[in-house]
């Protein structure tokens, strides 16, 4: 489909696919973009980078017709285009993989692939056969193994992300935009994705690629544009960049050590003890202990059961068997309140579904778990609450015009910071973090690591579920590997290597 299309549209795989000049966008209290230029070349991968809240997603949404722009012009193939709504953008061949998953969870995977235009057969009826067959073919072609007839909402986040990517390929596209597509992908899937991207560029399609992962940029991008505070900082061929120059452009300063290895967290008493925990769905006899001041990293392939374990041990999900003790005291299963009371909390991987209260303010979101601490006889002391929230906003550099901003208006990374602050404000004995740096920029990432590291040094037990090797190896004192709902191996930090971890994960 693409091949014919591109040929027919003029063949040449070079030249500008889209030119954006002087783009400006403001939200109440925020200047999200100011005088931003971006030119995408056909058949090239253009990376867009910047801190959380730099304006990347906003720029993309303007391309996609989601937001109108306050200033600037957009040219496609030499024509100025308005892009007033998503339909117009789609008609121009702009396909976007959004940062937040944009699928209908009740629909099958196949239907989601064809959401933009259902193919119809005789008499205008939807051709379901064709939908199934073509999505199966598409998945086969890109080597993505998922049942097109599955209900999308039943898939793990990572697979949904892949579906979303596949969707961008199902239709004729001239420009494919990906906003942090790999934030929840496994290494295998990332490799798969890169293969797909190369295919797209071979067909002359322009790719705009947003990520916080520097390694990816160096692997896939031809050109990099950096935004900071809504302004255009630089656009350079990737060859002119090193890690350091990129970071320098992004955050305006250097970061020497991304994953601090402040060695040897002093271990204290057993903070969390999990014995023989099983659930109806997946977990099978999981046991482990974490001591105060220790960081226990959990690794596993997609669907290994880490998220489920995380939810079970904080009391969110019911368990079928087993016991959980926090600092020697038993946690009542399926009751987050005793969990929080005992001092265990979870930073979820599903921000929208389980973390954020979208219609409430930054302050209300952040102080939720700690509200009891700011209250006397049930009355909230708003002055203290505000001071504490402001403290965390400053410390984490949460970009928000005010504490009363609705959290849904914050960029993804800033939302994550607010959620982390929610627990840190309360003060815990054990924090369980599930993909804690998903969608977080390098600067914030290293801040969060430094923070977790410091908290561990102060005696907090950290259970970290992560799919990122550097994170895992950088911060963990011990590493537990899961597969199929069981713990298959536990390594001491010094014994752990990428190879033996991956071997245990496949087992």
């Amino acid at each position: 489909m693409h091949a014919e299309l591109v040929q027919e549209r003029g063949g040449a795989h070079t030249g500008a696919a889209i030119e954006m000049h002087g783009i400006g966008k403001r939200f109440p209290g925020v200047i999200a973009l100011e005088e931003v230029d971006l030119v995408l070349a056909r058949g090239k991968v253009h990376a867009l980078m910047g801190e959380n809240g730099a304006g990347k997603s906003t720029l993309i949404k303007i391309m996609a017709g989601v937001y109108g722009r306050d200033a600037g012009s957009i040219n496609i193939g030499g024509r100025e285009v308005a892009l007033r709504n998503p339909r117009e953008a789609l008609a121009e061949g702009i396909k976007v993989v959004f940062q937040e998953i944009a699928l209908i969870s009740e629909f099958t995977v196949a239907e989601n692939i064809f959401l933009e235009r259902h193919p119809v057969g005789r008499a205008g009826s939807i051709d379901w056969k064709k939908i199934r067959a073509e999505s199966a073919a598409l998945f086969e072609r890109i080597g993505f193994d998922v049942d097109p007839a599955a209900r999308t909402g039943d898939l793990p986040v990572s697979q949904q992300q892949m579906v979303e990517i596949a969707r961008a390929l199902a239709h004729e596209a001239r420009i494919v935009v990906m906003d942090e597509p790999t934030s929840s992908l496994t290494p295998n899937e990332v490799a798969l994705l890169f293969k797909v991207i190369r295919r797209l560029t071979d067909l002359g399609i322009a790719v705009l690629y947003v990520t916080h992962k520097l390694d990816e940029v160096f692997e896939i991008a031809d050109t990099v544009t950096v935004l900071r505070d809504g302004r255009h900082i630089s656009t350079r061929p990737i060859g002119e960049h090193t890690h350091d120059t990129l970071i320098q452009d992004m955050i305006g300063r250097r970061i020497d050590n991304l994953f601090p290895r402040s060695r040897g967290h002093a271990k204290g008493d057993i903070a969390l003890s999990v014995k023989g925990v099983s659930t109806d769905a997946k977990l099978d006899d999981v046991s482990f202990e974490v001591r105060a001041g220790e960081v226990l990293g959990f690794f596993g392939l997609m669907g290994a059961g880490r998220t489920e374990l995380a939810k079970a041990i904080v009391g969110f999900d019911p368990i079928r068997a087993g016991t959980i003790e926090v600092a020697g005291r038993p946690l009542k299963p399926h009751d987050t309140r005793t969990g929080a009371g005992l001092g265990i909390g979870l930073l979820t991987e599903d921000r929208k579904g389980e973390g954020l209260m979208l219609e409430l303010s930054v302050q209300q979101n952040m102080s939720l778990a700690a509200l009891g601490a700011f209250s006397r006889a049930g009355f909230v002391d708003e002055t203290r609450e505000k001071a504490a929230v402001q403290g965390f906003v400053d410390r984490f550099r949460v970009r928000t015009p005010s504490l009363n901003q609705l959290i849904k208006n914050l960029s993804g990374g800033n939302q994550q910071k607010v959620l982390l602050a929610r627990w840190l404000m309360r003060g815990l004995k054990v924090i369980v973090v599930d993909e804690p740096t998903r969608g977080i920029d390098v600067g914030a990432k290293s801040e969060i690591f430094a923070l977790l590291d410091r908290l561990a040094n102060e005696g907090l037990a950290v259970v970290m579920m992560t799919s990122e090797m550097p994170e895992l190896l950088g911060l963990s004192d011990r590493i537990a590997v899961m597969a199929e709902g069981r713990i298959t191996a536990v390594f001491d930090r010094d014994a752990a290597t990428q190879e033996n971890i991956l071997n245990a994960a496949i087992a």
């Binding site: 987050t336 209260m357 209300q364 509200l371 209250s375 049930g378 009355f379 909230v380 708003e382 009363n404």
Partner: protein, 328 residues
């Protein structure tokens, strides 16, 4: 800036800011316009007798609406309040007749109404039945149940003056129902606005999962909101019984719609997480002033359905327009 929950756009310091935020401007405007227009056309409108009549009517609705506001904020709804209102009056009256004690009667009424709330809460949170349909079912059961309990109005055989006072009495210039409503309002206002309980209700309504994960017992909070609503129906039911001097099994028809209309007119969101009691108060006042004004103006009473319908839509639309303008 579209937040209208809690502290968002409230301007501290000014007296106005303490009691209302900008989302209420539209309603205040409508209320003022209505009052002025009706007063000009019919001066009886602001006569003491009429003001008291309006306030007494508002009191009944407001007492229940305070609970309903909490329920809607935490994402639930209760359509059984009208049917419960009738039942409560019959039970309260019956118990007073049998025991000769107002206290016991009121306690029985509260116990019954609280149990209805508890039942609704359990159906919604434990059986996970959507509260819209669950409470329609409760409404049917109560409508049937009240006639099983009594075929006819339970008459006042005790002639306790304190009972009559509940609905028709005064403390100073203020009717007792109005005082009770004021107390309920203030307590509910403070609870929603200044306590952790109130904040938790907003949180549960905004995202039940997020609230649970943050250590809140979402189901328990909802259950409490159901029980509070139930208890308030108990209070209103006793006042109504006193006003009618009988426990009337046929009372309360359509009361649930009046209450819900007032609450949503006050800007409380049906999807949970948003709403204020001040808004509810204004909603109740607007609806009852319209109702009263049509009689005072001697208009066709069929307009008592048409005009509130128009005002509800209009007020909501004006509020949307205002918010859009604010966002600029």
């Amino acid at each position: 800036m579209t937040s209208e929950s809690l502290s968002s756009t409230r301007k501290p310091g000014t007296a106005f800011g303490l009691f209302a935020d900008r989302s209420q401007i539209v309603l205040i405007g409508i209320l003022a316009a209505l009052c002025i227009a009706i007063s000009l056309a019919a001066p009886q409108f602001y006569s003491e007798a009429n003001v008291i009549a309006i306030l007494r009517q508002c009191a009944l609705v407001l007492i229940v609406a305070a609970g309903m506001t909490m329920l809607l904020i935490c994402g639930e709804v209760d359509l059984s309040v009208g049917a419960s209102l009738a039942f409560v009056g019959c039970i309260g009256m019956d118990v007073i007749n049998r025991t000769g004690s107002l206290t016991l009667g009121v306690l029985a009424a509260l116990a019954f109404a609280g149990t209805v709330g508890l039942f609704n809460g359990i159906v919604a949170t434990r059986l996970r039945v959507n509260s819209l349909i669950g409470t329609i079912a409760t409404m049917m059961m109560l409508q049937g149940g009240v006639f099983l309990y009594t075929r006819e109005a339970v008459q006042n055989h005790h002639h306790l003056p304190s009972f009559t006072g509940l609905g028709a009495g005064y403390i100073g210039p203020l009717p007792i129902p109005v005082i009770i409503a004021a107390i309920v309002f203030v307590v509910a206002f403070v609870a929603l606005r200044y306590t952790t309980f109130g904040r938790y209700l907003y949180a549960v309504g905004a995202s039940e999962n997020a609230a649970r994960l943050s250590g809140l017992r979402a189901e328990r909070l909802k259950l409490i909101a159901f029980v509070v609503t139930g208890l308030l129906v108990g209070v209103a039911g006793m006042i109504l019984a006193s006003l009618m001097n009988a426990g009337q099994p046929t009372a309360g028809r359509g009361f649930e719609l009046t209450v819900i209309a007032a609450v949503i007119l006050g800007g409380t969101s049906l999807s949970g997480g948003r709403g204020t009691l001040i808004g509810t108060l204004l909603g109740v006042l607007v609806l009852k002033v319209i109702d009263n004004g049509i009689i005072i103006l001697r208009w066709n009473q069929d307009l008592q359905m048409v005009v509130p319908g128009i005002v509800i839509i209009l007020a909501t639309w004006l509020d949307i327009v205002r918010r859009r303008a604010d966002a600029r």
